[in-house]
């Protein structure tokens, strides 16, 4: 069995985070390839069900990125994300999903370094944590 490679899904808002992640690539900043991004219009438009779906389909972690507070292109969508994530984390904890497996990170359109840092940090943390146990438990 080869070494465990975490599978992480990142939800990026179109205006800041996706642009920030693009910028990281354009600036040739390097990070681990374990994170695959999915573009949304706004982090505030992220349905909690998307995160549950990702865990169900095999993700070991979910990264959610939005504009910096105060910089949301939809005025205040990221405040809505902030509130929603706090609730969701509580629910996930009750399901036995560790806190490290879900991470909220603000990434502005000129902050490629923040994205790269979050990706590497999360990959390292989840590598230490190992695969998500919940799915295996549910199968048994």
């Amino acid at each position: 069995m080869s070494e465990f490679e975490p599978k992480i899904v990142a939800f990026l808002c179109n205006w800041c985070s996706y642009a920030g992640a693009d910028l990281a690539g354009t600036s040739r900043m390097k990070c681990s390839p374990n994170v695959v991004s999915i573009r949304l219009m706004c982090s505030g438009g992220l349905e909690p069900a998307f995160i549950l779906k990702a865990f169900k389909e095999g993700a070991d972690g979910v990264l959610v990125c939005g504009c910096n507070l105060g910089d949301c292109h939809y005025v205040d969508g990221n405040y809505k994300t902030l509130r929603r994530m706090a609730l969701l984390k509580k629910m996930l904890a009750q399901m036995g999903i560790e806190d490290e497996r879900i991470r909220l990170q603000w990434v502005c359109a000129s902050c490629g370094d923040d994205y790269v840092e979050a990706v590497d940090k999360m990959t390292a943390e989840i590598r230490k944590l190992g695969p998500l146990q919940l799915r295996a438990q549910l199968k048994n």
Binding site: E5, T26, A59
Partner: protein, 657 residues
């Protein structure tokens, strides 16, 4: 329906950009095996004419009805490839881009995991596009009038540009006169043109243009509607002088016995309680400031009224609210200058001979409080001056950004000081940034005039305690080129204060639903490729409200903003975005949770059918409503739940094949 999908997958090498890191052939082989994929091709440059023809050919010959392009970021070429579909007779929204370059090959060191990630991205795109449905953006007619907020040089320029095409412009200015900061300047760098001589002709053109309705001493208080069809409420503050009757003779100002400090003269001069900000004001109609007028404060005086021949004074005048209908809005509200009182080390407010840059402009101006003679607070002529750069700019405690104009106006001040007093000038600078056309040449010219440049940051300004120095100020700074501390005895100090966002930027941002960047200025749609529009459709930015700018840049941006508005007026119709949300009325329970969450006020409750509805023109497609709806009744097209869920499956199901 899903079985009818015939997906074409097109993988771009992007020269070596993608193919040098990702095994493109392996990705193509993998994609072939995925469901609904009819054809997979890889090509050196998919965005080239030849690459695009590959897609067109397959659509024509193989009947491909959905397309995945795995190439650079969708932010770069999504429109290009949408065009390919459109030209081939397919709906442009039956396309999905997999970002293999910016967020894959450019972001990782080569290795098998990178190719695996590429496969995941392609698989996600294939799954997602299977759920795409044709989308036709709506079109709405536009109202061919424009509102320009702010009557500084940027607003004036934008108004004139639009009026030259014989379309109506409303120019709203909150001060009694148009002209803005530029009217306060004496000379403009680097040409040393007289500011008034180049500004006032433009301003009077505004006043005389039949297509421009100038609303001075007025403010925007409410905005509703959407691109192409805004309704704007304007508050016309009571002037207490009838614009129709006043002939601008000025006798009222002469006779008014009450004075206060003049805002236009940056507090250095005096004005009357009834006043025009400056003699060349447009319109040349004074206003009474009730907070200074004896009649309003004490109930008697009315001297102005007695002497006014055309009987233009009207103490009964009330604020007036008017509604305007416009299609587009250009925001040109300018900037505020930083008040350096908080930086006690520079002594502004404590030491009378420490001035701000705006005050120095007024000291140099022939229409200023000293008639253009540079004088100290006690009336003496200075023999030496220190100019401190970057006061509140490039300073993490105040503003991280560069204010862009200060190096140049510091050079201008040096020249003017030399010209008027023959005295000594010291410039204390961090870096000289003379980036514009003929700016570097002006820098060289001023260097040749005998100005001393000291590279460093001024630490403090104090009163000299030595009797020999008289009334001098001592500027302490580090000369970083010499590596030593320097104490400069000078007669006066000018602080090049930062250009900051208007204090009430937030209010206007809320009114117009505009974003603000980290520095507090209004946020443009794209910092490089679209610095003129905003995220609010139909609202454009011009001048310093978007960030510090010199006059040429402000004028350029104003012309660009006008061109944008005119392009949409010429088209006559406006496309309403393809990413918008809608409510499924059969599912909506009428709980109204979404109503208050919409940042654009696009959701309203239909009392007759007891369901929420979304105005497609106002909606920007953020899906905040959709993600909140407890019934799952809201779908944002092109970012629907089924599409995102499919993409999640796609990117994670890689091993299962």
């Amino acid at each position: 329906m899903v079985s009818e999908n015939k997906i074409g997958v097109y993988i771009c090498h992007c020269g070596h950009n993608i193919a040098g890191v990702v095994d493109v052939e392996e990705v193509a082989d993998y994609a072939k095996k995925l469901g609904n994929v009819a054809v997979t091709r890889d090509y050196m440059y998919m965005c080239s004419e030849q690459g695009r023809n590959l897609i067109k050919q397959d659509i024509r010959q193989l009947g491909i009805n959905k397309v995945v392009v795995a190439a650079c970021s969708p932010r770069l070429h999504e429109q290009t490839f949408q065009g390919v579909l459109k030209e081939s007779g397919l709906n442009p929204y039956l396309l999905q881009i997999a970002n293999l370059r910016e967020q894959c090959s450019w972001m990782h060191e080569p290795g098998p995991l990178v190719t695996e990630k590429a496969k995941r991205l392609v698989s996600g795109a294939i799954k997602r596009v299977s759920n795409h449905v044709p989308t036709v953006p709506q079109e709405m007619p536009v109202f061919p009038a424009t509102l320009v907020i702010g009557g500084g040089i940027a607003g004036i320029q934008a108004a004139l540009e639009i009026a030259s095409s014989r379309h109506i412009v409303y120019l709203v200015e909150r001060e009694p006169s148009i002209g803005g900061h530029m009217a306060q300047f004496d000379k403009t760098f680097p040409t040393l043109d007289c500011s008034a001589c180049i500004l006032t002709p433009k301003a009077s053109e505004v006043a005389n243009n039949p297509y421009i309705r100038m609303l001075t001493y007025s403010e925007v208080v409410d905005v509703s509607g959407f691109a192409g069809n805004f309704t704007v409420k304007i508050k016309r503050k009571a002037r207490y002088v009838s614009e129709g009757k006043c002939i601008g003779c000025g006798i009222c100002q002469e006779k008014c016995p009450w004075t206060t400090s003049s805002e236009f003269d940056a507090g250095l001069g005096l004005r009357k309680a009834i006043y025009t900000p400056f003699p060349q004001a447009i319109p040349n109609v004074p206003v009474i400031s009730p907070e200074h007028c004896a009649y309003f404060l004490k109930g008697k005086c009315r001297a102005c009224e007695k002497f006014c021949e055309p009987k233009a004074i009207d103490f009964e005048q009330q604020d007036l609210y008017i509604d305007l209908q416009v299609g587009f809005i250009i925001v040109a509200t300018g900037f505020d200058v930083l008040d350096p009182s908080a930086m006690t080390q520079y002594g502004y407010g404590r030491l009378p001979n420490v001035f701000t840059s705006m005050e120095f402009e007024r000291l140099c101006s022939p229409s200023g409080p000293t008639g253009g003679t540079i004088k100290l607070a006690d009336g003496r002529q200075p023999q030496s001056m220190a100019i401190i750069h970057c006061v509140g700019s490039r300073d993490k405690n105040y503003n991280a950004y560069c204010s862009r104009v200060c190096c140049m106006h510091a050079l201008k001040y040096s020249h003017l000081f030399k010209e008027k007093t023959k005295g000594d000038v010291y410039q204390i600078y961090i870096d000289m940034r003379c980036f514009g056309k003929a700016y570097e040449e002006f820098y060289e010219r001023v260097q040749g005039e005998g100005v001393t440049f000291i590279r460093g940051k001024a630490a403090k300004v104090n009163k000299s305690d030595s009797a020999d120095d008289g009334e001098k100020l001592i500027v302490s700074c580090e000369d970083t080129l010499l590596g030593s501390m320097v104490n400069l005895p000078v007669d006066m100090v000018v602080l090049c204060v930062a250009l900051e966002p208007r204090k009430d930027t937030d209010q206007l941002a809320k009114l117009l639903h505009l974003g603000r960047s980290r520095d507090g200025f209004f946020l443009e749609r794209h910092p490089k490729l679209d610095p003129v529009s905003t995220m609010s459709e139909g609202i454009f930015l011009a001048g310093c409200c978007q960030g510090p700018k010199d006059i040429p840049d402000s004028v350029t941006q104003a012309s660009a903003a006008a061109a944008r508005a005119l392009a949409m007026i010429a088209k006559g119709k406006i496309d309403v975005g393809a990413v918008t949300a809608s409510v499924n009325e059969n599912i909506c329970s009428g709980c109204k949770v979404c109503n208050a969450l919409c940042p654009y006020g696009a959701i309203f409750f239909d009392e007759s059918s007891k369901v929420s509805r979304i105005n497609q023109v106002l909606c920007k497609g953020c899906n905040v409503c959709g993600s909140t709806c407890p019934s799952g009744a809201i779908t944002t097209q092109n970012f629907s739940v089924s599409q995102i869920m499919a993409e999640i499956e796609g990117v994670l199901q890689y091993e299962r094949i």
